[in-house]
């Protein structure tokens, strides 16, 4: 049975992936009988949608939950609450089966070496998934060769090599080829270029942009590198300590950020101008632990504009511009924060 491209079910207006109220808490056990001692609230009440054909970037620092979110979306673990809809259909529970879902959503990881089976040649690794889904060996290998060409590696040279014989950049290309083998519609890229040298990073980013156009893909691009996310994304989601801080078009986020954390994060980038160096760090201290996070707004412990109301209320995502929302009481009219706008008459 040949591998065919999967059809679009919901139409262009339907988001390709919709996440609502997603939650993942990891329970901690302590004490004599292993009683529960709180939980690591890795992902808490996360809601967003990925539109067909766009690149949504997720930025955040350690403990923000972006990697956990990507693994929840990839169905590598079960959420403790919330739902994930792919093209309008739920996964499992009568909707898409896991096998069907995995054909449509694939992932590329940060560590290119440990993502590849060291005992399989590169060609065999890429051909593996198509074979599992029913393609016969000869055609699977042919497909692997096509994909190697698509990612810029010559199949006659590279198909028979083992992962340890390749450089980091080449391995990452192989991972991308492998992710494309089933013709997925959504590609989740979890820090795909963070472990690469700068010049190789540029090559791989160019490749990702080309492949997206060539195969009509949708990307979820996760990174801690703000510059890379700005380059690649159409819309950007900023996460802090398991929650969504801000979401909006890339120009709005980078040019007119509404959430104090986003602003601090952007200010933390080293300036490329030696004549204009930073004097004071925008944020002090380390990102806090996701175990027992602060009440109300989780950023309030490091926010210069925090007020008592911030501890009492969990700020919802409030509109901050066209298609742009921020979870901050300063943006929500009538929230009780001194800097919040008045409610429009």
């Amino acid at each position: 049975m040949p591998l065919v491209a999967l059809p679009d079910v919901g139409g262009p207006a339907q988001p390709l992936l919709s996440v609502r109220g997603l939650q993942k808490h990891f329970p901690l056990r302590a004490g004599f009988l292993g009683r529960s001692a709180g939980a690591v609230q890795a992902v808490d009440d996360v809601t967003f949608a990925i539109r067909k054909g766009e690149t949504l970037g997720i930025v955040g620092e350690s403990g923000c939950g972006k990697s956990t979110t990507s693994r929840l979306i990839m169905a590598l673990m079960e959420p403790t609450a919330g739902e994930i809809l792919f093209d309008g259909q739920p996964i499992g529970h009568g909707g898409l089966t896991l096998k069907e879902y995995r054909r449509q959503v694939q992932m590329v990881f940060q560590d290119s070496y440990s993502s590849l089976n060291p005992r399989l040649t590169v060609g065999e690794s890429i051909a593996f998934a198509p074979k599992v889904h029913g393609l016969d060996t000869r055609r699977a290998i042919a497909r692997a060769h096509e994909l190697l060409t698509a990612v810029g590696l010559n199949p006659t040279q590279f198909a028979r090599r083992y992962p340890h014989e390749l450089s980091g950049g080449q391995r990452q290309r192989v991972n991308i080829a492998r992710a494309l083998a089933l013709q997925p519609r959504l590609l989740i890229l979890d820090e795909p270029v963070s472990a690469l040298d700068k010049s190789v990073e540029a090559q791989v980013l160019n490749l990702l942009v080309d492949l997206k156009a060539q195969f009509g893909l949708t990307y979820l691009f996760i990174s801690h590198d703000l510059n890379v996310v700005q380059y690649v994304s159409d819309r950007v989601l900023v996460m802090y300590l398991g929650r969504v801080a801000e979401i909006g078009p890339v120009d709005a986020i980078y040019g007119a950020a509404a959430h104090p954390y986003t602003m601090a994060l952007l200010d933390s980038r080293p300036s490329m101008d030696p004549g204009n160096r930073r004097k004071v760090p925008p944020l002090t201290g380390d990102p806090p632990n996701p175990v027992n996070p602060p009440s109300g707004c989780r950023f309030r412990t490091r926010c210069t504009a925090a007020e008592p109301i911030c501890a009492a209320t969990v700020p919802p995502l409030a509109p901050a511009g066209q298609d742009h929302a921020a979870a901050c009481l300063m943006v929500l009219p009538g929230s009780g924060h001194s800097r919040a706008p008045a409610i429009a008459a």
Binding site: K198, P270, G285, P287
Partner: protein, 328 residues
């Protein structure tokens, strides 16, 4: 005329094993004045970490062969006896590493690790060493310093661990601080704090700093001068502002073009085609020639010398005008 803090002349470092010889550093010359910050910028395999470690002879002793001259704070590092070397390390020159999680001994507390460094180099008592350890933790802005002295490395977050490592490195007031990509493993908001902290400490303690990084932005934030390294050689040296604005060497230009920055959106990133050379078989001429868009015959016959179009700037490229040469 103040004495130079660091003088390195014709440094070569090779790693010799049964199968092959890796030529990691192939003729590096530079000086550093006190209170100056030099950034060595390069990608993996360029030899930047090896160069840094050579200043303390910290490369694996059995496999490493070094030649040339290395003088730090007046001491001849390559000729020092093991005892003299142990006195120099930590006392005159200190190093901070990239991964604080693995660079600190996991079964000793932070306080113990600071204290043993102090007691090794200075004839003060244990109580005084403990007091100094606490002061150091406060200087690097670790909150609850007294309590943290009894913490183990795995109990601290990444940013605090790196600060603890800085405290250990500064405990004996070295004249030279070597930093091997100290912020690469840290989050952005923590990275900027550590960079500013290092700048502050350098000014307060009057140290010279040599900072190794692969990130041009980080270099721009801390350096006075930048040296770009490729295949074991400095291919360009210059003041930070002029090098970042208009690099001379094609590799440095390529790095600048490949660095993703704010204005790049919508354009295609310039990339450097090909890959770095194999350090076991270096080409005879310019090591960058196979990847260079402007390669000429002169590039292939011999390694280009450092040519200086203006005082303080130099690049290993035949296309760069050499005013000092021409003026002669």
């Amino acid at each position: 005329m103040t004495d130079k803090l660091v003088e390195v002349h014709d440094l070569h470092v090779r790693f010799v094993s049964r199968d092959a010889t890796v030529r990691a550093v192939n003729g590096v010359d530079f000086d550093l004045m006190p209170r100056e910050t030099l950034c060595i910028l390069g990608e993996s395999g360029s030899g930047k970490s090896v160069t840094l470690r050579a200043l303390m002879r910290l490369n694996p002793p059995r496999r490493t062969v070094m030649s040339g001259t290395v003088r730090v704070g007046g001491h001849d590092v390559l000729a020092a006896s093991p005892r003299q070397l142990a006195d120099i390390r930590g006392g005159v020159v200190s190093m901070i590493f990239q991964e604080p999680a693995t660079a600190l001994d996991p079964v000793f507390t932070i306080g113990q690790q600071i204290r043993e460094t102090i007691l090794r180099h200075e004839p003060i008592g244990r109580a005084a060493a403990d007091r100094r350890a606490q002061e150091l933790l406060e200087i690097v802005q670790i909150p609850s310093a007294r309590r943290r002295l009894d913490s183990y490395p795995h109990e601290l977050s990444g940013g605090l661990r790196q600060r603890a490592m800085i405290a250990i490195a500064l405990s004996c007031r070295p004249k030279l601080l070597l930093a091997d990509e100290p912020t690469t493993a840290l989050d952005a908001t923590v990275q900027i704090q550590i960079l500013l902290l290092l700048r502050q400490l350098q000014q307060d303690m009057g140290m010279g700093v040599i900072f190794v990084t692969h990130d041009l932005g980080v270099a721009g934030e801390v350096a006075d001068r930048i040296a770009v390294m490729y295949a074991g050689r400095f291919v360009e040296v210059g003041p930070v502002a002029s090098l970042m604005r208009a690099p001379l060497h094609p590799y440095a230009q390529g790095l600048l073009g490949a660095t993703v920055h704010a204005g790049a959106r919508g354009t295609r990133l310039t990339t450097i085609p090909g890959a770095p050379p194999n350090l076991e078989h270096l080409p005879q001429g310019c090591a960058f020639a196979p990847r260079c868009a402007w390669v000429e015959d002169a590039c292939l016959s011999a390694v280009p010398a450092l040519r200086s179009p203006a005082p303080g700037q130099a690049a290993r490229c035949v296309r760069v005008p050499d005013t000092l040469q021409d003026a002669a």
